[in-house]
Symmetry: C3
Subunit: 658 residues, 3 copies
C-alpha cells in the first residue's frame, strides 16, 4: 500500500490548491516562478475542474491540464491530482434534476454553488466514475503525479426519494429483518412500527420530535453513502496507479463523516484546518486537530488546506497577524504533519471565495502574506530531512467516537447546552495546558500502550467498548470518564439503570438517580472547584472514594467525582483550571510526564522524533530555560541553557552531542 512517504520522499510537502482555470494561461508561468520562489513543491490541481474538463455531457477537454501538469513538472512541482467530482457542472443539474439533493423539508438544493449532488444518485455516480476513469487513464503515467485527491470535503446530506431507496437497502443489510429494525428503532413508541420496508423514509420534517434511532442510522448511512462515492473513485485510480497514494480531505470535527472508518480507506489522511485567529484558544484547537488527524492516520498526516490569511465564511473574517501562519504551520509539523498545503495558491478575483485568502493574496508578491509564505517554505526545506516520517510520542489517549457523537445530538435530550465537540476541546485543553503528549483513539481500540485514557463523554457505548474499558482498568490502566457516559447501547437504547452495569461497578456507583443538567451560565460548587453544564444525582455503592462532593443545591453532599482504583468518574464539567488539575493529578499518578516542565505560559513544547519544537503562542517574547546544548535548525544558532522566543516564535531544536 502506498503512503504519504511515497509523496514526501524525505521532504515536507509545501503548496496548495491551484486553480489556474481562473486565470489566463499567461499567468501560469508567473505562478510557477513565484511557487519556486516560495519553496512550493506541491500543487493540488483539478478540484473544481469538472466543467472545464467535461463542458458538456461526455466531452473531454484535457489539453489545458496536459499543459499545466507539464509546466508544473518542468518547474519541479509535484501534482496532487483531484477528481473534480465535488462540483458537477450545471448541465448535470439541468439535464438530471434528480441528481440534486433535497432538504429535510423537500426543497431542492440547486446548482450554482458546489457540492450539489445526491450521494445516492446513480446518474451522478456513473458520470463521476466515467470522468475519474478517463482522468486516471490519462495521467497515470505523468511524472508530476504524486497523489490522488478524491472529491473535496464530502458533506452533502440528502433526503430525496432516491436516498430513501438507498437508505432502505442499507437498513436491510444492517438488520436483515424488519422485526430487527423495529426492535432497534423502538418503533413500538408513538406507533411507528414499519410493516413493509417500502414505508421507511429518511427522517424528514415532522410534526414533533423524530425517532432518534432512525436519525442515528441515517447519519451512519449518510457517512457510508458518501464513503461509497469515495471508494468507488479510489478504486478506479488505484487500479491505474497502484503505487500512488490516495486521500480525500476531511473537514475536522465534522460530524458528517465517521473519520475513523474513512481513514481506513485512505492511504493518506488529510484535513482542512481553519482555526479562528481571534480565538485565544486557537493554538490548542490547532493542536487538537493535529492530534486527532495523526491518530486517524496512525502516523504522519497532511494539512490539505489552511489559510495564509483570512477565511470568508465567518461573520467577521480577520487575517492572521504576522507570524501566526508560520507558528501554526510549524505546530502542525511538530504534531506530525508531513505536508502543509493551503487553500489556495493565488487568491481568486471572482467567485464565492474571492475574499478567502491565498498564499499569493490580492496584494500580490509584495504583500505581507506572501512574504511570510516564502519564509515558511524556506524553513520547511531546512527541517524537512530531519522531521519527515518521524513519530510523535503520546502516553495519553482521548476516546472519540462518531456513534457517540451522533447520539449526543438528538432532539429531546436532557440538555441542548451540552456539545460533544466542546467537551473534546475542554478535556484536550486540560492536557495541552499540562503539556503532555496526546492521541485520540476509538473506544474499541487497543489501549494497552497508554498510561492514561480519557473519556470526555461517550453517551453511546457498545458492549465491546465497555468490556475494553473495564479490561483496560483491570490491566492497570488509569481511566477518567466524563458525565453521561455509557448511557446507551449501539441502538441508542438506554441501558438499564441509566448507565451500563459494568461501568457502574467499575466506578463504584450503585444507582444513577437523576441527571441534573445546569442552566446556561450556571455553576455548582464542589469540593475545591465549580462544576459547569451538568451534574448527577449518584448513589455510590461504598466501594469508591468520593474525590469531591457537591456542596450546594439539591445534590449537596452527593459525590461529584468518584474514584475506584484506576477508574475515575467525573459527573460534571469542572471549570478549565480545575479540570486541568484533575487530569494532571490522574496523569501524575499514572506516570505521565509533560514534554518539558516549567514552561512559560503560552509556550508549547512538542517532541517529534529526535527534535524538540518550542512554540510561543503568546504575543510577548518568552525565554525557555533548557539545560544542555541544542542546535536550532531554523536559525542554525546553538542554544545553550535557554531559548528566546519572539512573539509567535518557534525553535526547532536538535540535541548537540556533548
Amino acid at each position: 500500500m502506498p503512503s504519504l512517504h511515497d509523496a514526501t520522499r524525505g521532504r515536507l510537502l509545501f503548496g496548495g490548491d491551484y486553480n489556474p482555470e481562473q486565470w489566463p494561461e499567461e499567468v501560469w508561468a508567473d505562478d510557477v516562478r513565484l511557487m519556486k520562489e516560495a519553496g512550493v513543491n506541491s500543487a493540488t490541481v483539478g478540484v473544481f475542474s469538472w466543467a472545464k474538463i467535461e463542458p458538456r455531457p461526455g466531452a473531454r477537454e484535457f489539453g489545458w491540464l496536459d499543459r499545466l501538469l507539464d509546466l508544473l513538472h518542468a518547474g519541479g512541482i509535484g501534482v496532487v491530482l483531484a477528481t473534480p467530482t465535488s462540483s458537477p457542472p450545471p448541465w448535470m443539474g439541468a439535464l438530471h434534476p434528480e441528481t440534486l439533493p433535497r432538504t429535510e423539508d423537500g426543497s431542492v438544493v440547486n446548482y450554482g454553488s458546489r457540492q450539489h449532488f445526491c450521494p445516492s444518485s446513480p446518474v451522478y455516480r456513473r458520470c463521476a466514475a466515467a470522468l475519474t476513469e478517463d482522468l486516471a487513464a490519462r495521467y497515470a503515467g505523468h511524472p508530476a503525479l504524486t497523489m490522488w485527491h478524491i472529491n473535496n470535503e464530502y458533506c452533502t446530506h440528502c433526503w430525496c426519494d432516491e436516498t430513501g431507496a438507498h437508505f432502505r437497502r442499507w437498513l436491510a443489510s444492517r438488520y436483515t429483518t424488519l422485526e430487527a429494525l423495529n426492535e432497534a428503532w423502538g418503533t413500538a413508541f408513538w406507533s411507528q412500527r414499519y410493516d413493509t420496508w417500502a414505508e421507511i423514509l429518511p427522517p424528514r420534517k415532522a410534526q414533533y420530535t423524530r425517532n432518534p434511532a432512525q436519525e442515528l442510522d441515517f447519519k451512519r448511512f449518510t457517512s457510508d453513502a458518501l464513503m461509497e462515492c469515495y471508494t468507488a473513485e479510489r478504486d478506479i485510480v488505484a487500479r491505474h496507479t497502484p503505487h500512488i497514494p490516495v486521500t480525500t480531505n476531511f473537514m475536522p470535527l465534522w460530524s458528517g463523516q465517521d473519520a475513523w472508518a474513512w481513514a481506513e480507506q485512505e492511504d493518506i489522511v488529510s484535513v482542512d484546518i481553519y482555526p479562528d485567529p481571534t480565538d485565544p484558544r486557537a493554538g490548542q484547537y490547532n493542536a487538537m486537530l493535529a492530534d486527532m488527524t495523526r491518530s486517524q492516520a496512525r502516523g504522519p498526516w497532511m494539512v490539505m488546506e489552511q489559510a495564509a490569511g483570512s477565511v470568508n465564511w465567518r461573520g467577521v473574517n480577520r487575517p492572521k497577524p504576522a507570524g501566526l501562519n508560520r507558528l501554526w504551520s510549524l505546530q502542525s509539523v511538530a504534531r506530525g504533519a508531513d505536508a502543509l498545503c493551503y487553500f489556495q495558491w493565488r487568491q481568486s478575483r471572482q467567485g464565492a471565495e474571492k475574499f478567502h485568502s491565498g498564499m499569493l493574496s490580492h496584494a500580490g508578491e509584495n504583500g505581507r502574506t506572501f512574504g511570510e509564505v516564502k519564509r515558511i517554505g524556506a524553513e520547511l526545506a531546512l527541517i524537512g530531512a530531519e522531521v519527515t516520517g518521524t513519530e510523535v510520542p503520546a502516553d495519553v489517549a482521548v476516546l472519540h467516537d462518531w456513534d457517540a457523537w451522533w447520539s449526543s445530538t438528538q432532539e429531546g435530550r436532557p440538555s441542548r447546552l451540552v456539545s460533544y465537540p466542546e467537551l473534546l476541546r475542554a478535556w484536550h485543553r486540560g492536557l495541552w495546558d499540562s503539556g503532555v503528549g496526546t492521541e485520540f483513539a476509538r473506544p474499541e481500540a487497543d489501549l494497552s500502550a497508554y498510561r492514561l485514557v480519557l473519556v470526555p463523554q461517550l453517551h453511546l457505548l457498545g458492549d465491546a467498548a465497555i468490556d475494553n474499558l473495564v479490561a483496560y482498568v483491570r490491566g492497570g490502566g488509569t481511566l477518567m470518564c466524563g458525565f453521561f457516559t455509557g448511557v446507551a447501547d449501539v441502538d441508542d437504547r438506554i441501558r438499564p439503570g441509566g448507565m451500563d452495569g459494568r461501568l457502574r461497578e467499575l466506578f463504584g456507583i450503585r444507582t444513577v438517580h437523576e441527571w441534573w443538567p445546569l442552566d446556561a451560565g450556571a455553576t455548582v460548587a464542589c469540593d475545591g472547584f465549580r462544576g459547569t453544564l451538568w451534574s448527577e444525582e449518584l448513589e455510590p455503592d461504598g466501594s469508591a472514594e468520593t474525590v469531591a462532593a457537591y456542596r450546594e443545591g439539591e445534590l449537596d453532599g452527593l459525590p461529584a467525582v468518584l474514584r475506584k482504583g484506576g477508574a475515575w468518574y467525573v459527573s460534571t464539567l469542572p471549570e478549565p483550571g480545575s479540570l486541568r488539575d484533575l487530569l494532571g493529578r490522574a496523569a501524575a499518578e499514572a506516570g505521565v510526564r509533560p514534554v518539558l516542565e516549567g514552561l512559560p505560559s503560552g509556550v508549547e513544547a512538542v517532541r517529534r522524533g529526535e527534535l524538540l519544537f518550542l512554540l510561543n503562542h503568546g504575543r510577548a517574547p518568552a525565554v525557555v530555560e533548557l539545560p544542555g546544548r541544542r542546535l536550532d535548525l531554523l536559525t542554525g544558532a546553538e542554544a545553550d541553557g535557554g531559548v528566546e522566543l519572539d512573539r509567535y516564535g518557534v525553535a526547532v531544536l536538535k540535541d548537540v552531542p556533548a
Copy 2:
C-alpha cells in the same frame, strides 16, 4: 351523562400512561406488582397503539390488549382506554400521502414522529372511525374499563388543499354569502375581495402581512375541525358505552383549541400539566392551570399527564427536586383534581421521549423518583374519601376567551411584546399572591355569583359580552379591566373610537387618542407604581376618578388607572407587587377575603370542601399560625394553634369539632 365521579367512585385516581407495547410481556407482571406497591389504581392504555392493533390496513391485533386489560383488572387497576388515533401507522402516510399535513409554505409534514394527520382528511377520519368502532365494540363490556381517552393532545394545523376545501365549507356555513364573508374579512383592503368561494385559501405564506380576519377564522376553523375528529370518535364510544365517561387531554394554555367549547363536549375535562421546576413562579402557574381546568370542567377535573421528574423538550431539562412532585400533586387536588396521572408509568428505553421521566424511572424501583411516587400514592389513598367530588369556592373570576387570544396574536399589531397568556399569568399572580379563591369564566358567562371580575385583556369582545360586563357592573359587581380591551368586534373590526362606546361610558373615557406600547424593558412612572408593556393616551369624560396618573413622558398627567364606581380601567401593566395591591384594593372593597390571613411567604392555603390544604412552596420550613384544633389527614397528627411545614411541605387539615 356520565362524569368523573363514575370513574373515581370515591377514590382519587392515581396512575399514568402505560405503554406496555414497548416491553416484553414478561415485564408486565412486574409492572402490575409495582403499580400496586405504589397505590396506582388507574392505567391509561392504547394511546399510541394504532400500529400494534392495526399493523396493516384493516388488520386487528387485539390479543395483546385483551391480555393486558385482563392482567390490569386482575391487579385491581382500572383502565382508561385510549383511541390510538393521534399517531397513524407509517402505512397510512405511505399509502395515503394526502393524509399528511402541509405547512403554511406547502411542505409536507411526514410520518416518523406523531400527530401527522390532516384533521380534514376523509381517509384519516374513516380509518380512525373504523378502528374506534372495533375497539369500542370489543372492550365495551370489559370490567376494567373506567374511561375513554380520545386521541391525544390534538394540535395539528394543516394548510393543504383538502383543508382548503373544508375551510370553505366551514366559511360557507358561517357566512352563508360571499358578500358577508367579504364584509367580515374587510377584503376591500388590499384588493382581496373574493368573487367565488373556490378562490378562498387557508392563510398560506404570503409576500407581506396577511388578512387578520382570515387568520382568525382559520384558527376558529382549525379548532372546530379538530373537534369534529374528537366528537366523531366520542360518539362511537358513547354509543357502545353510554355509562362510561369520555375525555380528551388538553394541553393547557394552548391556543389551538378553544377549551371552553371543547369542554362542553367532554364528560371529563383532563389536562396535561408540565410546569418548569426551575421557574420560581411555577407553583402559581400550576395553580392557574388548575383553576382554569376546574372552571372548564365546572367541578372536579383530571390531571391526565404530569411528570414525575424531568421532561425532555426544554433546552435544559431539570428533574423535580425531592418533594416537588408531591407538592404540586397535592396542590392540584386542593384545587379540584380528582385524578392524578402521569406520562408515563415506566420510562421508555427507546424512542423520542426516553429522556422524559416516568413514575418508574431508569433508576427503577430503588430510584428516588419511584420512592416519592409511592408516598404520593399512599397519601392520596388517605385523603381520597374526604376530598373526592368536593368543590373549591371562589369569589373572583378572570375572564378568558380564545377569540380574544387569537385576535391578539395577529401580525401588524401595536406591540409584539404583549402576550395574552403572560397577561393572564400576571393578573392571576396578583390573585394568588393575595390568597383569594379564583376561577376563570367566559366573557358571556353569568357573572352574578362573583364579587369581583377581572379582564387582563380582551382585545376582541362581542356585543353580548360587552353587554354582559356592563350589566354586571350595573348590578353591583366590581370589574377591573386591563388595557387594549374592547377594541375589536367579533370579526376583529376596530370599534369606532378604538374602544366600544358602552365600555368607554362604563369607565368614563371620552376619547382614546392613541395606544402607546412601551419598548422592551421600559417602564413608565405612575402615581405609586411603575407601568410596563403598554400605556394609553386617554381623555376622561369627567365622570371617572383618576386613581393614578402617568407621571413622565408624553402622557405625563394623563390618567393611567380610571375608576367609575365599580368599573376600573387599568391602561398599563403595573409591576407585579403593584398589580397585586391594586387587585387587592378592588377585592377588599368588593368584600373578597383571602382563604387565610397572614400566611408566611410562599405558603398557599386552599379550601376544598371541608378540608384546608396548606402548601409550602418555599425551600425553607414555615410555620402557619392557625387557631383551633385540626387533624392533618396525611400524618394523623392533630394541629393545635399552628402547623409546621417542611420544605415543600403539605398539610391537609380537617376541623376537629370542639
Copy 3:
C-alpha cells in the same frame, strides 16, 4: 415633459391615500367635509382597487370611481390616480397560479396579502396593461386628475421558472455571448461554467455560498424587470394624458430598485418615509431621505406616504408625540418637498393595516392626531406660495450607487457587520451635525459644482466612476473616501492589488496588505479618535500625509487616515463625533460653510429659496440668535435678533428688507 409643478401650481400638495372602498358611500361626503377642514387638496385614489374595478376577469366596475372623482372634484380636491396593479385580485392567483411568485427555495408566495405577482409573468403584465388602458382612457379628461401613481412600492422578487427565462433574456442582452457571461461571473471557480443559456437559473437555494456575480446580476435584473412593469403602465397613461405627470412611490433606501435609474423614468419622484419616532436620530434620517430623494428628482419632490401617528410593522409601534408630525413635515418641505401626503386619510377598521395610523385616526375628528393634521394643512397653505418650486442649495455631495450597495451585501464577505445604508447614515450624520447643505450623486455624475465629495463606501466602482473621481480631485475638488472602496469592477471582480491602481495613486497608497474588519462592538485607537467596524493594513507610497495612525493592535503605527492634497482616505469608521470633526475639517478647507453658525444643539437650519427654516428637534425649547429682521411666515410675527422655538418648534423666516 410634465413635472411636479403641473400638479402643485403654486400650492404645496397636502393629502394622502384615500381608500373609500373600505367604507360605505355615505361616509364619503363626511370625508370630503373633513378634508376641506384639514386643508387637504390632494387625494390618492385606486391604489388597491383592482378587485373592485375588475371583480372577475375582464369586468370593469367604474361607476363608484366616477362618483368618487366627481365628489372630490366638487370639493376642490385634486386626484392622484393610481393604477391598482400592485395587488392582483384573488381570481388571478386562482386562475393563473403561475403569476404567483416563488421564493429562493421554490415555495409559492400566495395571494391573501399584497404584491403577490411575479414581475416577469406575461399574464400579470397583460392583465395590468389592459386595466391601465381602460383606466387611463376613462379618466384622461377628468378635471380632478392631477397625477398618475403607477402601482405601489414595487418590491417583489421572484425565483420562478418564468423569471428564469426572463433572466436569461436579460443576460443575453447584457452579455451577448455565453463566453462573456462565464467570464463576467467567474464561473471557472467551483465548476460553474454554463454551456448553454438554458442552464442558467436565478440564484436559488444552494448547498453553500452562491456566485456573487450571479447574485449581483439578479439584483440588477429584478430592478429592471420591475421597471419594465412600471414603464409599460407609464407609457399607457402618458399616451392618454401627455400633460399629466407620472410617478411611482419609492421605499427609501430600499435595495430592490436602483432609484437613480428609476427616477429618470419618472416625471415626479415620490417616496414613502417612515422614520421611527423612538429613534433619537430620526430627524437626521428624515433629512437624509429628503436629500436623497431631492437629488434623484433634481429638484422638488413628493412625500407620497408618511404616517400621521404610528405604523404597524415594527415590533413596538409608538405614535408620534405632539408636534413631531408637524416638525418632520416642515423639515421635508425645507429640504425640497412640494407635496406632503400620508398613508392614509382615514385609518382602516379592518385588514392588515388597521393599526397603521391615518390622518383621521380611530379617535376621529376629535382625536389629537387629526388636530395636528389640521394645523399642518393650514400652515402649508400659509407658506405654499413662497416655497413651491424653489431650490435647496448644497456644496457637498455624498456618492451613492446601487451596484456598489448590492455588491456589498454578498455572502462570504470580510464582515457581515458592515452595512452600506448604515455607512450612508453615519457619514450623512456628520454633515447634518455640521449643518451643511448636502446632496447625493451617482459616482459618474458631474461633480464640478461641489466643493466637497464624500464616498462613505463604494466597494464596486466602474472605470468611468474612478476616472471621474480622479478628475474631480485633479480639478481642485476635495474628496474624502471611506474604507473598502474601489475594490471591485462592474462585474464584482477584485481589482489587482485589492484597490484600483488609479485610486491607490490618488490616495498615496502603495499596497493594501489586508483588510482587518473589527469584531462587533470592538474599536481601535487612532490618533485623536477611535475607529469602529473596520481597519486596513496599508503601506503608503510616501506621497501622502498620514493624518492619523492606528495606535494599538496589529496595525499599530500604520496609517488610518491618509491625505494627498484634496484626496482623503479614511480606512476605518471613526466614532460619530470624530467623523463629524474630520468631515468638518475637510469641509472647512474646501470652503464649505454651514447654513448658520452657532446653532443650539438639536436645532437644524435649512435654506430653501428665499426662506430660512429653523427646526428644533429637541424636546426642550431653544433660542436661535439671528441678527437682522425676519418675518415668521407661520406666525406672522417678526423676529428681530432671535427666534424662540418650542419643543419640536419650527420657524419659516423671510428676510424683511431693512
